[in-house]
Protein backbone atom coordinates (compact mmCIF):
# COMPACT_ATOMS: atom_id res chain seq x y z
CA UNK A 1 0.00 0.00 0.00
CA UNK A 2 1.14 3.44 -0.81
CA UNK A 3 0.76 6.32 1.64
CA UNK A 4 -1.27 9.06 -0.05
CA UNK A 5 -1.67 11.37 2.92
CA UNK A 6 0.64 12.20 5.79
CA UNK A 7 1.14 15.08 8.18
CA UNK A 8 3.29 17.74 6.50
CA UNK A 9 6.88 17.92 7.71
CA UNK A 10 6.51 21.66 8.22
CA UNK A 11 4.10 21.00 11.09
CA UNK A 12 5.66 20.86 14.54
CA UNK A 13 6.09 17.42 16.04
CA UNK A 14 3.23 16.48 18.37
CA UNK A 15 1.32 19.67 17.63
CA UNK A 16 -2.31 19.73 18.63
CA UNK A 17 -4.50 22.52 17.32
CA UNK A 18 -6.18 24.66 19.97
CA UNK A 19 -8.96 25.78 17.63
CA UNK A 20 -12.61 24.97 18.28
CA UNK A 21 -14.03 21.76 16.76
CA UNK A 22 -14.77 22.18 13.06
CA UNK A 23 -12.77 25.40 12.67
CA UNK A 24 -11.30 25.84 9.18
CA UNK A 25 -8.10 27.45 10.49
CA UNK A 26 -6.68 23.96 10.82
CA UNK A 27 -7.22 23.22 7.14
CA UNK A 28 -5.70 26.54 6.04
CA UNK A 29 -2.58 25.96 8.14
CA UNK A 30 -2.25 22.43 6.75
CA UNK A 31 -2.36 23.76 3.19
CA UNK A 32 0.38 26.26 4.04
CA UNK A 33 2.48 23.50 5.63
CA UNK A 34 2.01 21.22 2.62
CA UNK A 35 3.14 24.00 0.27
CA UNK A 36 6.18 24.81 2.42
CA UNK A 37 7.09 21.12 2.10
CA UNK A 38 6.36 20.82 -1.61
CA UNK A 39 8.07 24.09 -2.54
CA UNK A 40 10.98 23.33 -0.20
CA UNK A 41 10.57 26.65 1.60
CA UNK A 42 10.50 25.72 5.29
CA UNK A 43 14.15 26.46 5.97
CA UNK A 44 14.03 29.92 4.42
CA UNK A 45 10.67 30.97 5.79
CA UNK A 46 10.05 33.77 8.26
CA UNK A 47 6.40 34.21 9.17
CA UNK A 48 4.91 37.39 10.55
CA UNK A 49 2.09 36.27 12.83
CA UNK A 50 -0.94 38.22 13.91
CA UNK A 51 -3.38 38.66 16.76
CA UNK A 52 -6.66 36.79 17.13
CA UNK A 53 -7.32 33.07 16.65
CA UNK A 54 -4.40 33.06 14.22
CA UNK A 55 -1.99 34.09 17.00
CA UNK A 56 -0.86 30.56 17.89
CA UNK A 57 0.53 29.75 14.45
CA UNK A 58 4.04 29.31 15.84
CA UNK A 59 2.77 26.51 18.06
CA UNK A 60 1.85 24.56 14.93
CA UNK A 61 4.15 25.52 12.07
CA UNK A 62 7.80 24.55 12.39
CA UNK A 63 9.16 27.79 10.91
CA UNK A 64 10.70 30.99 12.28
CA UNK A 65 8.00 33.41 13.40
CA UNK A 66 7.88 36.97 14.63
CA UNK A 67 4.76 38.25 16.30
CA UNK A 68 3.34 41.56 15.12
CA UNK A 69 0.94 43.72 17.15
CA UNK A 70 -2.70 43.58 16.09
CA UNK A 71 -3.03 44.58 12.44
CA UNK A 72 0.68 45.17 11.83
CA UNK A 73 1.71 41.82 10.36
CA UNK A 74 2.20 43.26 6.86
CA UNK A 75 4.36 46.09 8.23
CA UNK A 76 6.45 43.63 10.19
CA UNK A 77 6.69 41.37 7.12
CA UNK A 78 7.88 44.38 5.11
CA UNK A 79 10.65 44.90 7.66
CA UNK A 80 11.66 41.24 7.53
CA UNK A 81 11.70 41.18 3.72
CA UNK A 82 13.65 44.43 3.36
CA UNK A 83 16.19 43.20 5.89
CA UNK A 84 16.53 39.73 4.35
CA UNK A 85 15.25 39.76 0.75
CA UNK A 86 16.34 36.16 0.14
CA UNK A 87 13.90 34.77 2.73
CA UNK A 88 10.37 33.61 2.07
CA UNK A 89 8.08 35.88 4.10
CA UNK A 90 4.38 35.49 4.68
CA UNK A 91 1.68 36.70 7.04
CA UNK A 92 -1.24 34.71 8.37
CA UNK A 93 -4.02 36.99 9.60
CA UNK A 94 -7.70 37.12 10.34
CA UNK A 95 -10.06 39.55 8.63
CA UNK A 96 -10.15 41.84 11.67
CA UNK A 97 -6.36 41.95 11.74
CA UNK A 98 -5.84 42.32 7.99
CA UNK A 99 -8.82 44.40 6.91
CA UNK A 100 -9.93 46.41 9.93
CA UNK A 101 -7.25 47.53 12.36
CA UNK A 102 -4.52 46.72 9.86
CA UNK A 103 -6.15 47.86 6.63
CA UNK A 104 -3.67 50.71 6.14
CA UNK A 105 -0.66 48.44 6.64
CA UNK A 106 -2.12 45.71 4.42
CA UNK A 107 -3.11 48.05 1.60
CA UNK A 108 0.16 49.97 1.59
CA UNK A 109 2.16 46.77 1.59
CA UNK A 110 0.20 45.79 -1.52
CA UNK A 111 0.62 49.26 -3.04
CA UNK A 112 4.38 49.15 -2.51
CA UNK A 113 4.39 45.78 -4.23
CA UNK A 114 6.30 44.29 -1.34
CA UNK A 115 7.41 40.79 -2.30
CA UNK A 116 5.64 39.05 0.56
CA UNK A 117 2.61 36.78 0.66
CA UNK A 118 -0.41 37.47 2.86
CA UNK A 119 -3.21 35.15 3.91
CA UNK A 120 -6.44 36.54 5.32
CA UNK A 121 -8.91 34.20 6.99
CA UNK A 122 -12.39 35.66 6.49
CA UNK A 123 -14.97 34.22 8.88
CA UNK A 124 -17.15 37.35 9.11
CA UNK A 125 -16.52 37.82 12.82
CA UNK A 126 -13.97 38.41 15.58
CA UNK A 127 -13.53 34.82 16.70
CA UNK A 128 -11.07 35.09 19.59
CA UNK A 129 -13.11 37.68 21.48
CA UNK A 130 -16.34 35.77 21.09
CA UNK A 131 -18.02 36.74 17.84
CA UNK A 132 -18.33 40.49 17.44
CA UNK A 133 -19.11 42.46 14.30
CA UNK A 134 -16.04 42.72 12.09
CA UNK A 135 -15.12 44.37 8.79
CA UNK A 136 -16.46 41.38 6.84
CA UNK A 137 -19.67 40.74 8.81
CA UNK A 138 -22.38 40.48 6.15
CA UNK A 139 -25.55 42.59 6.06
CA UNK A 140 -28.17 41.25 8.40
CA UNK A 141 -25.71 39.02 10.28
CA UNK A 142 -26.31 38.84 14.01
CA UNK A 143 -23.21 39.09 16.19
CA UNK A 144 -22.69 39.96 19.85
CA UNK A 145 -22.26 43.63 18.89
CA UNK A 146 -24.93 43.65 16.17
CA UNK A 147 -27.74 41.89 18.06
CA UNK A 148 -30.36 43.18 15.59
CA UNK A 149 -28.26 42.27 12.57
CA UNK A 150 -25.83 44.36 10.56
CA UNK A 151 -27.57 47.33 8.97
CA UNK A 152 -26.43 50.41 7.12
CA UNK A 153 -27.63 52.87 9.75
CA UNK A 154 -25.46 51.63 12.59
CA UNK A 155 -22.69 49.65 10.94
CA UNK A 156 -22.30 50.41 7.26
CA UNK A 157 -21.09 47.78 4.83
CA UNK A 158 -18.59 44.91 4.82
CA UNK A 159 -15.32 45.10 2.86
CA UNK A 160 -14.52 42.83 -0.07
CA UNK A 161 -10.86 42.35 0.64
CA UNK A 162 -9.64 40.37 -2.38
CA UNK A 163 -11.20 42.89 -4.79
CA UNK A 164 -9.70 45.84 -2.92
CA UNK A 165 -6.23 44.31 -2.82
CA UNK A 166 -6.51 43.50 -6.54
CA UNK A 167 -6.95 47.23 -7.22
CA UNK A 168 -3.48 47.97 -5.84
CA UNK A 169 -0.84 48.32 -8.55
CA UNK A 170 1.76 46.48 -6.49
CA UNK A 171 -0.39 43.39 -6.16
CA UNK A 172 0.81 40.48 -8.29
CA UNK A 173 -1.88 38.03 -7.27
CA UNK A 174 -5.16 38.33 -5.40
CA UNK A 175 -7.75 35.60 -5.07
CA UNK A 176 -10.63 34.52 -2.88
CA UNK A 177 -11.06 30.87 -2.06
CA UNK A 178 -13.12 28.80 0.39
CA UNK A 179 -12.70 25.67 2.47
CA UNK A 180 -16.30 24.44 2.53
CA UNK A 181 -15.85 21.50 0.13
CA UNK A 182 -12.98 19.27 -0.94
CA UNK A 183 -12.80 20.80 -4.47
CA UNK A 184 -12.65 24.25 -2.89
CA UNK A 185 -9.91 23.11 -0.53
CA UNK A 186 -7.92 21.89 -3.55
CA UNK A 187 -8.47 25.21 -5.30
CA UNK A 188 -7.41 27.07 -2.16
CA UNK A 189 -4.10 25.24 -2.19
CA UNK A 190 -3.50 26.20 -5.82
CA UNK A 191 -4.24 29.85 -5.01
CA UNK A 192 -1.87 29.81 -2.03
CA UNK A 193 0.79 28.26 -4.24
CA UNK A 194 0.37 31.08 -6.74
CA UNK A 195 0.55 33.71 -3.98
CA UNK A 196 3.80 32.13 -2.80
CA UNK A 197 5.23 31.86 -6.32
CA UNK A 198 4.73 35.52 -7.22
CA UNK A 199 6.80 36.41 -4.17
CA UNK A 200 9.58 34.03 -5.15
CA UNK A 201 9.53 35.41 -8.69
CA UNK A 202 9.81 38.96 -7.34
CA UNK A 203 6.59 40.04 -9.03
CA UNK A 204 4.99 41.72 -6.03
CA UNK A 205 2.41 41.20 -3.34
CA UNK A 206 0.65 37.82 -3.26
CA UNK A 207 -2.69 37.65 -1.50
CA UNK A 208 -5.31 35.02 -0.73
CA UNK A 209 -8.54 35.62 1.16
CA UNK A 210 -9.92 32.38 2.55
CA UNK A 211 -13.62 32.08 3.38
CA UNK A 212 -13.66 30.13 6.59
CA UNK A 213 -16.22 28.83 9.03
CA UNK A 214 -16.53 29.73 12.71
CA UNK A 215 -19.06 27.20 14.05
CA UNK A 216 -18.65 28.32 17.66
CA UNK A 217 -19.47 31.98 17.14
CA UNK A 218 -22.00 31.30 14.42
CA UNK A 219 -23.77 28.93 16.83
CA UNK A 220 -23.87 26.21 14.18
CA UNK A 221 -22.64 22.67 13.74
CA UNK A 222 -19.50 22.41 11.58
CA UNK A 223 -21.67 20.99 8.79
CA UNK A 224 -24.19 23.84 8.99
CA UNK A 225 -21.32 26.33 9.08
CA UNK A 226 -20.02 25.10 5.72
CA UNK A 227 -23.51 25.49 4.27
CA UNK A 228 -23.53 29.07 5.54
CA UNK A 229 -20.17 29.72 3.83
CA UNK A 230 -21.80 28.70 0.56
CA UNK A 231 -25.22 30.27 0.97
CA UNK A 232 -24.53 33.47 2.91
CA UNK A 233 -20.90 34.30 2.31
CA UNK A 234 -20.25 33.40 -1.32
CA UNK A 235 -23.00 35.66 -2.73
CA UNK A 236 -21.31 38.61 -0.95
CA UNK A 237 -17.75 37.39 -1.37
CA UNK A 238 -17.61 35.60 -4.75
CA UNK A 239 -14.78 33.14 -5.20
CA UNK A 240 -12.27 33.81 -7.92
CA UNK A 241 -8.93 35.22 -9.01
CA UNK A 242 -9.14 39.01 -9.00
CA UNK A 243 -5.65 39.69 -10.19
CA UNK A 244 -2.85 37.58 -11.56
CA UNK A 245 0.01 39.36 -13.31
CA UNK A 246 1.27 36.07 -14.69
CA UNK A 247 -1.85 35.74 -16.89
CA UNK A 248 -4.07 38.10 -18.85
CA UNK A 249 -5.92 38.85 -15.58
CA UNK A 250 -2.94 41.00 -14.67
CA UNK A 251 -3.96 44.26 -16.25
Amino acid sequence: MQQVFSIPKSMKKDFRYTFCPGCDHGVAIRLVAELLDEMNLREKTICSTSIGCSVFLYDFLDVDCVEAPHGRACASATGVKRATPDKFVFTYQGDGDFASIGLAESMHTALRGECVSAICINNTTYGMTGGQLGPTTVMGQITTTSPYGRNREYYGYPIRVAEQIALCDGTAYSARVALDTIPHINQAKQALKKAFEVQLQGLGFGFVEILSSCPTNWHMSPQEAHIRVKEEMMPVFPLGVYKDVTTEKGE
Binding site: M1, Q3, V4, F5, I7, R16, P21, G22, I182, Q223
Partner: protein, 69 residues
Amino acid sequence: MGKIVIDANRCKSCYLCVSTCPKGLIKKSDKTNRLGDYLVEFDDKNNECIGCAMCAKRCPDMAITAVYK
Protein backbone atom coordinates in the same frame (compact mmCIF):
# COMPACT_ATOMS: atom_id res chain seq x y z
CA MET B 1 -8.38 -1.05 -1.18
CA GLY B 2 -7.32 1.65 1.26
CA LYS B 3 -6.84 2.42 4.91
CA ILE B 4 -6.81 5.43 7.23
CA VAL B 5 -5.23 6.05 10.62
CA ILE B 6 -7.14 8.10 13.20
CA ASP B 7 -5.38 9.82 16.11
CA ALA B 8 -7.99 9.92 18.87
CA ASN B 9 -5.98 12.53 20.78
CA ARG B 10 -6.38 15.01 17.97
CA CYS B 11 -10.05 14.30 17.19
CA LYS B 12 -12.45 16.97 18.45
CA SER B 13 -15.63 15.20 17.36
CA CYS B 14 -16.68 17.67 14.67
CA TYR B 15 -17.80 14.72 12.47
CA LEU B 16 -16.89 16.55 9.26
CA CYS B 17 -15.14 13.35 8.13
CA VAL B 18 -18.32 11.34 8.66
CA SER B 19 -20.22 13.33 6.06
CA THR B 20 -17.20 13.62 3.75
CA CYS B 21 -16.37 9.93 3.23
CA PRO B 22 -17.92 8.97 -0.12
CA LYS B 23 -18.29 5.37 1.07
CA GLY B 24 -19.70 6.21 4.50
CA LEU B 25 -16.95 4.27 6.25
CA ILE B 26 -16.38 6.69 9.14
CA LYS B 27 -18.86 6.48 12.00
CA LYS B 28 -19.46 7.92 15.42
CA SER B 29 -17.82 5.63 17.94
CA ASP B 30 -19.03 4.47 21.36
CA LYS B 31 -15.70 5.61 22.78
CA THR B 32 -15.41 9.11 24.22
CA ASN B 33 -12.52 11.49 24.66
CA ARG B 34 -11.63 13.49 27.81
CA LEU B 35 -14.48 15.90 27.18
CA GLY B 36 -17.03 13.15 26.83
CA ASP B 37 -17.46 13.66 23.10
CA TYR B 38 -17.96 10.55 21.04
CA LEU B 39 -14.96 9.94 18.79
CA VAL B 40 -15.09 8.58 15.27
CA GLU B 41 -14.01 5.16 14.05
CA PHE B 42 -13.07 3.69 10.69
CA ASP B 43 -15.36 0.78 9.91
CA ASP B 44 -14.36 -0.94 6.68
CA LYS B 45 -15.35 -4.59 7.05
CA ASN B 46 -15.80 -5.04 3.31
CA ASN B 47 -12.57 -3.30 2.25
CA GLU B 48 -14.43 -0.52 0.51
CA CYS B 49 -11.98 2.33 1.27
CA ILE B 50 -10.58 3.75 -1.97
CA GLY B 51 -7.85 5.81 -0.27
CA CYS B 52 -9.17 9.10 -1.68
CA ALA B 53 -7.93 10.98 1.44
CA MET B 54 -10.92 13.32 1.35
CA CYS B 55 -11.47 12.65 5.05
CA ALA B 56 -7.92 13.71 5.84
CA LYS B 57 -8.19 16.83 3.70
CA ARG B 58 -11.46 17.71 5.41
CA CYS B 59 -10.38 17.03 8.99
CA PRO B 60 -9.59 20.45 10.51
CA ASP B 61 -7.41 18.89 13.21
CA MET B 62 -5.28 16.50 11.16
CA ALA B 63 -6.64 13.74 13.36
CA ILE B 64 -6.54 11.49 10.30
CA THR B 65 -2.80 11.25 10.28
CA ALA B 66 -2.24 8.85 7.43
CA VAL B 67 -4.13 7.49 4.43
CA TYR B 68 -2.98 4.47 2.43
CA LYS B 69 -4.12 3.38 -0.99
